[in-house]
Symmetry: D2
Subunit: 305 residues, 4 copies
Amino acid sequence: MLPDIQLSKPEIPIGLSKVGAKGIKKLVKVKRDKKRPIILISTFDVFINLPSTMKGANLSRNFEALDEVIERLTWKPVETVEDLNLRIVDELLKRHEYASVAEVNMEAEYILRKKAPKSGLMTQEVVKIFCEAKKNKRGKESVFVGVEVYGITACPCAQELIKASSVERLKKLGLKQEEISKVLDTVPLASHNQRGRAFIKIQSREDFRPRIEDLIEIAKSAMSNEMYEILKREDELMVVEKTHFNPRFVEDSVRVMAKNVVERFKDAPDDIIVFFRQINEESIHQHDVVAERIATIGELRNEVG
Amino acid sequence: MLPDIQLSKPEIPIGLSKVGAKGIKKLVKVKRDKKRPIILISTFDVFINLPSTMKGANLSRNFEALDEVIERLTWKPVETVEDLNLRIVDELLKRHEYASVAEVNMEAEYILRKKAPKSGLMTQEVVKIFCEAKKNKRGKESVFVGVEVYGITACPCAQELIKASSVERLKKLGLKQEEISKVLDTVPLASHNQRGRAFIKIQSREDFRPRIEDLIEIAKSAMSNEMYEILKREDELMVVEKTHFNPRFVEDSVRVMAKNVVERFKDAPDDIIVFFRQINEESIHQHDVVAERIATIGELRNEVG
Amino acid sequence: MLPDIQLSKPEIPIGLSKVGAKGIKKLVKVKRDKKRPIILISTFDVFINLPSTMKGANLSRNFEALDEVIERLTWKPVETVEDLNLRIVDELLKRHEYASVAEVNMEAEYILRKKAPKSGLMTQEVVKIFCEAKKNKRGKESVFVGVEVYGITACPCAQELIKASSVERLKKLGLKQEEISKVLDTVPLASHNQRGRAFIKIQSREDFRPRIEDLIEIAKSAMSNEMYEILKREDELMVVEKTHFNPRFVEDSVRVMAKNVVERFKDAPDDIIVFFRQINEESIHQHDVVAERIATIGELRNEVG
Amino acid sequence: MLPDIQLSKPEIPIGLSKVGAKGIKKLVKVKRDKKRPIILISTFDVFINLPSTMKGANLSRNFEALDEVIERLTWKPVETVEDLNLRIVDELLKRHEYASVAEVNMEAEYILRKKAPKSGLMTQEVVKIFCEAKKNKRGKESVFVGVEVYGITACPCAQELIKASSVERLKKLGLKQEEISKVLDTVPLASHNQRGRAFIKIQSREDFRPRIEDLIEIAKSAMSNEMYEILKREDELMVVEKTHFNPRFVEDSVRVMAKNVVERFKDAPDDIIVFFRQINEESIHQHDVVAERIATIGELRNEVG
């Protein structure tokens, strides 16, 4: 019989909020209607607690259990990422009989196919998907799903400055005020633009299961335009034009996401929690710019009016 | 007059929890008694909120202000990192008159000099230092300081398994039970060991200012041994021996930090919040192992007993 | 007709060694005998040259071509990674008629299933796979394939120091010299051990196509032991024991790989180029330790003797 | 006497191209005329070779030496980075008597102060500095210094497409051809723009020591405009305007750097080797775009004409 030191008493009787493993990579397949399953290269962090009354823990003996769960569950297609992660926390609680809470965080890269906007050429994009599931012994659970999407953002402020300065320049050319206004509304004016990342995380419950596809769409809507891996010249023109007729601050991006979540998820209960973040990798600075909002859908409904 | 689009009304009247800039690098000098100031290459994230009643924001106009503050404050030695960061949040609130909360997060690398344990050769180590300061218009402030330190951890469980297996092997060699016990207590037995990272973050208040040096010492105490950039053979022997006579799980590391915080900070008020984390980059796995605890010092005092 | 500025003359008539795109992520499927294809999340860098005599370049018009190639080739299983990458460079040369050289670098994560050493439990590991293909207009091609594998390395030097010090300790216990020798050969003695990464890159030609599986096996053989995501206690004992009876410097790891390449690839031509690297994330230091060798197989054959 | 296993014979008599340590962080101070020394947080990789005739190596015994060198040399200001790194390779060769080659690679972050372009406000930027030094026993040495600088690049192609499309739009407004041309030359037209990184590495010899400051200036000149951490509105207008009147492909950036190196370093010998790279983090794609050139200054002189 091999010894099991984890079962012995700790010298310092202090409980631990979380004990677990970080960075376990797995291939996960998620079912889709009438299509081949989605393949997600996923990274999992899994935790349980060790209560303060508990003197010892058989943790490393049970890590195998935890890994087995992921192994067994992740080699055939799962219904949803929520489903997968809830089954993992259930198994964790079953095997760690001394734990009162189990938690799993999953992060995955999802390679989407899509068409270039004008030429229609097939291309792709890489989107990040998140799921966090937490459950306690009494059955109380908390699940969040999320996405992070890259897009383009053009700055409204810089464009307005360019516009004001262009008015002066065009006056000197001899154009009339009325003509100038028309010209500057017609021509896509310069601004700084850059890679942005829109992030949404939202509570998922038995009475409300947001679709990942909807979250991706809402996140994309936050920015001045989408990104594409392939752009023919007619596509590139369209993307740059649309971007500059649709400038957005980080604040705008978060507000647009909030509004679109309210509109898309009309059936969502008022107490569903949602978190938004927009990060812009500003082309004029070495630093990034960020805006965030955390709220319940009820609060957002009140604010949007 | 240049236009200021940030002052205009947003189409979607939603408040933002945080708006700001991430990843601003600065050289910070911190004073020390009778020594040359410490040089910290620091990265700052700075945020303010935009209240839901606020229609517009003059954000980009004020980013300069924010940067100016950091510029002005970071080119001469500061008393403490708390002091620096509190002055930054004060300036943020002054300049963003519409904001009710300001927040700054600082992360820095601190290169410490120290002696090899046996030869006494001068060497160094790199330690991470953190400070988070948050303040609202009514003067309520919340400050946390933290450190992350690398060290070595040897696994107690694997060592116990090696011990049990060695008993069987030595029996076959013809040694007696009593002799075997002595031998196995005397010889540093193999285990897996690895780089660990001990992290502490603790509340810092006017009535309790923990010293960074104490936090570094407590974090180092969490692991089986310290790390060194230079080790002569006599040092290496000492480090490997000490490591294997002092094996530690991630759980142990957190518990040791908790106990040492209670002992070191006897004058700390009971409601001071403290967070511990130990991460081990397990040499036998591709994944990392982690333990965490968040508590008030009062709670820890009760548990430690 | 949209303008095509890439076709115009550059003001500065300087040729470019490489022009291209970095970091294009694709799902690649590679065929296997009687098994489901391997799924590789791959990242590609693709380049062509612009000769010094060339005044302009229609680069962005052709990027689409390049992306199309990857799109078309990467959504059905390919025979080998060499085959995939050679077809990409062929397409690049065809579409960039002014280029004389095309190059593609691919890096992928491959999730392998394997058994724990004693319990036989199924587990997995993540291995990196590389392929670099380069071809010029006259048909001269150069292809390299490579792998990087994580494993455990225990330090022979520290273990020898522990042994010498244990001799002294056991003498004081009253053991005889002969007994001490037996004991110290029997018991797995402590050393520092850590995550290591073994890397091999080898030329792949029509007359010599090394199998990726062989490279993975050789890379694993370089270190003191393999890593596993799941280890029951009996497995953990076996892994730690084997690791400590098989200590390796970074230099040893490279030498073992070189020897095993010579032995495994008996049919390889003498002028095949091969590169080895071992990096150890030393548990006693914050820095990593590294050894490298670049040679032809012929040179290694001479040296190994 | 402690044993020294590195001195024993290897089982496999294979020479190693490089053995060393990676990722050693040090504070380095570099002298400046009449100013306070520059502080560089530097990361060093240091290597020696082990010749194939050499059976064993006392490597870990000498790592201390290597570290001592860096310690001793890096705590007082050095004349130049070349000087520092050459002294390190000299020490390496002296202490590793069996080695025929020593090599050191240094990478550092340099925080520069500078003024915003219009308001004149003091701000800063972070620049990367590189130095590689290699020397063999017979005294042959090879030194390279380099810099990497962030900047903004606007795409000439997208801007030309916007221009062509704007011509059509303005025709519909009733403007005449001549007027349209004037307007479109006057107004800064939209394009995609993004963070770019310009990289130069150049040989440094006794007969030619390029100044780091010159390299930084040349790298900045490669892009459409510089970056700033602080920009008041008048600065932001100026930066965005200048960027859009100075659009640059990655190819252009490399060519401009090549031309400027030829012009700036008129005294450089023809056989000095120089390497250029421009990477743009394209705002319309998830992938980066890159151009490179490696050449001697003589070759570039011929091409520039």
